[in-house]
């Protein structure tokens, strides 16, 4: 009697097969040794990560699998044109997996307290102020700073209420606006407001916070810190790049060399080489990731975990529509890379850390549920 395979097995098998084939096809062209190495290495590493760390650290399999697959898609997009860059991306993804595991472990250590809030606020604001003072910083730490701000906000909200939690969020938004990072500042402000509304529930405080953020953005526009929202040449170029290869990609391999587009974004390369259908379907995988994150937040027992999980989901997912709408030229916002489809190591590591925090909270939820099952068994 045959047993029906589980959705997890089907997803993992299909993802591994797709990554293997996508890396083997360009390898067949010239018999490039590096591409064969990548095909074996990426597929093997994906399968190993889905088995060993997932079991060792009780990680959420769905979040981990989608994160690993999106990381592998980034490698695939580079492999067709630049195998060396693809090898470097493999190393970056490995560092990202380490960050994900660290995130899952950190959640078991930290608890909502003044110490947690103080350390995370200090580090977050330090990173933001550092990038403001040192203009030509080699690595952008904005993503990491945003995560630290969310940890600080969750801790303060759980311990001291919404009014206390607002302060670091306001300072962070101001620092981001001073650097001209409109999208990041909007993401942080929206996250803080939505979390305040969801977790604290005091409409007076939410309206007051909304008024403060509106005043900050109005002030930034008044003093010339907000860039002019006019669709530029890069928006037209971005749209033409995304649709140039048609639905299923062009026959010739394209190496994207355009300084107007964000260098770290891999979605253009993906669309150029594999077409709009493959790219669109891959980007739709953010949907189950977000839904899973929301479900983790909803199942959390402690308010700190619930707020933190929701904050991670918001920080991660609010960037997606902003990036996509600007890439398609709908919104005249600065072009930004999509989460996990970037070749910037700090951004990738911070995004993996966010997913690691979600995995950790999911693991805590599972432990709590297992304890309840044990209690119920004893009660019988």
């Amino acid at each position: 009697m045959s047993k029906k395979s589980s959705p997890r097995f089907r997803f993992v098998f299909a993802a591994a097969l797709l990554v293997l084939l996508a890396l083997l096809v360009p390898a067949l062209r010239e018999g490039d040794q590096r591409l064969y190495l990548l095909a074996a290495g990426v597929t093997g590493a994906m399968l190993l990560c889905m088995i060993i760390p997932a079991r060792l650290f009780s990680l959420d399999r769905l979040i981990l699998s989608i994160a690993l697959y999106l990381g592998a898609v980034g490698i695939i997009s580079l492999a067709t044109t630049n195998p060396d860059a693809a090898l470097m991306q493999l190393l970056r993804c490995s560092a990202g997996v380490v960050a994900l595991i660290i995130g899952a472990m950190v959640i078991r250590i930290i608890s909502p307290s003044m110490l947690t809030a103080g350390i995370s606020s200090f580090l977050g604001l330090l990173l933001l102020a550092g990038s403001l003072l040192v203009q030509d910083l080699p690595f952008p730490f904005t993503e990491a700073a945003l995560i630290l701000m969310v940890i600080s906000f969750s801790s303060l909200l759980s311990c001291y209420g919404g009014a206390a939690a607002l302060l670091p969020g306001i300072i962070g938004t101001v620092l981001l606006l001073l650097q001209g990072m409109t999208v990041e500042a909007s993401v942080l402000a929206l996250t803080v407001l939505l979390l305040l509304w969801a977790a604290d529930g005091k409409i007076g405080l939410v309206l007051a916070a909304l008024a403060v953020f509106a005043a900050i953005f109005f002030g930034a526009a008044h003093f010339g810190y907000l860039p002019a929202f006019i669709p530029g040449e890069e928006h037209a170029l971005s749209l033409s790049t995304l649709v140039s290869s048609g639905l299923f990609g062009s026959e010739t391999v394209t190496d994207l060399q355009n300084s107007a587009l964000p260098a770290s974004s891999l979605v253009y390369l993906l669309s150029e080489n594999y077409g709009l259908v493959f790219t669109g379907l891959t980007l739709f995988l953010y949907l189950p990731l977000m839904l899973r994150g929301t479900s983790v937040a909803g199942s959390a027992r402690a308010r700190f975990h619930a707020v933190l999980a929701l904050g991670c989901v918001l920080i991660f997912s609010l960037r997606i529509p902003a990036s996509l709408l600007s890439a398609f030229g709908v919104l005249p916002l600065p072009l930004n890379p999509l989460p996990l489809l970037t070749d910037s190591l700090p951004d990738l590591a911070a995004q993996m850390l966010t997913l690691g925090l979600l995995c950790g909270i999911s693991s805590v939820n599972e432990t709590n549920l297992a304890e309840d099952a044990h209690l119920a068994m004893l009660a019988k």
Binding site: P7, A15, V25, L28, L281, S295, S299
Partner: protein, 249 residues
């Protein structure tokens, strides 16, 4: 390393472009079905664990017309108590503010109560407004919380680990050969077992077994009818049942 001729490679590339799109579609469907499957499993699991996420319950000792005695609330690990429906514990009684107090469970300590400013709250008769911070009482199994005109008693799932009441463990009685129990004559001056509370509370020293013995037909049959209790204790009412009634209205 192994490579193919340009003609074959062209065919493979062309086929792979459609194949990869198909694979991406399948991956999306598998991910969504995985998500759905996990949700279904979790729902099924929670159906068998109705107390999941709760640390115990609050039983109403004294309430109001809207909150009858013996109504019980499941208590989450942390939340807000107040008279608003959006609160985690809704206590619609005179003297209870819209958002009266915040509570949170601490393993090994008990239920910590933090009243909002101006909200008078008592735990086991001690006012939390006037209590010194270091001597702030914590609710454990059997503790009574007074907010406004409502008095609620906490009953924990992990009762034995969180109580300030002594539990005496009695040694099992030695085995005696079975003999018929001596016939007992009913005397009206003796306390009537049926007047005792039916639900045993460990703190009261009346176990559930004793409560069941009180309903034994053999015992009841020897009690004259005029001494039988006129009205039994009202059945336990969950607060959620009351909501259902409200919504149906």
């Amino acid at each position: 390393m192994f490579s193919v001729s340009p003609e074959i490679y062209k065919v493979i590339t062309q086929a792979s472009r459609y194949l990869f799109a198909f694979f991406a579609l399948m991956l999306l469907l598998f991910a969504l079905s995985w998500l759905y499957d996990e949700r279904r499993k979790r729902r099924e699991r929670l159906r068998y664990l109705p107390e999941a996420g709760n640390i115990g319950e609050m039983v109403v000792i004294s309430g109001s017309d809207q909150l009858p005695v013996d109504t019980w609330f499941p208590i989450p690990r942390e939340g807000i108590l107040g008279s608003l429906r959006s609160c985690d514990l809704v206590v619609p009684c005179p003297g209870v503010h819209a958002r009266h107090l915040a509570f949170s469970w601490q393993d090994g300590t008990g239920l910590i109560i933090k009243p909002f400013p101006g909200c008078e709250t008592f735990v086991d008769g001690v006012s939390l407004i006037t209590a010194v911070k270091s001597e702030m009482p914590v609710m454990v199994h059997g503790s009574c919380l007074q907010v406004g005109s409502a008095v609620l008693r906490l009953q924990l799932l992990s009762a034995l680990e969180h109580t300030n009441r002594p539990f005496t463990v009695t040694a099992p009685e030695p085995f005696l050969p079975f003999t018929d129990p001596p016939a007992q004559e009913y005397r009206p001056d003796q306390p009537n077992p049926m007047n005792q509370p039916l639900i045993g509370n460990p703190a009261d020293g009346l176990s559930q077994q004793e409560s069941q013995n009180a309903l034994d037909p053999a015992v009841v049959s020897v009690i004259p009818e005029e001494h039988l209790p006129v009205q039994q204790t009202a059945p336990r009412r969950k607060r959620a049942d009351r909501w259902k009634e409200d919504f149906s209205e």
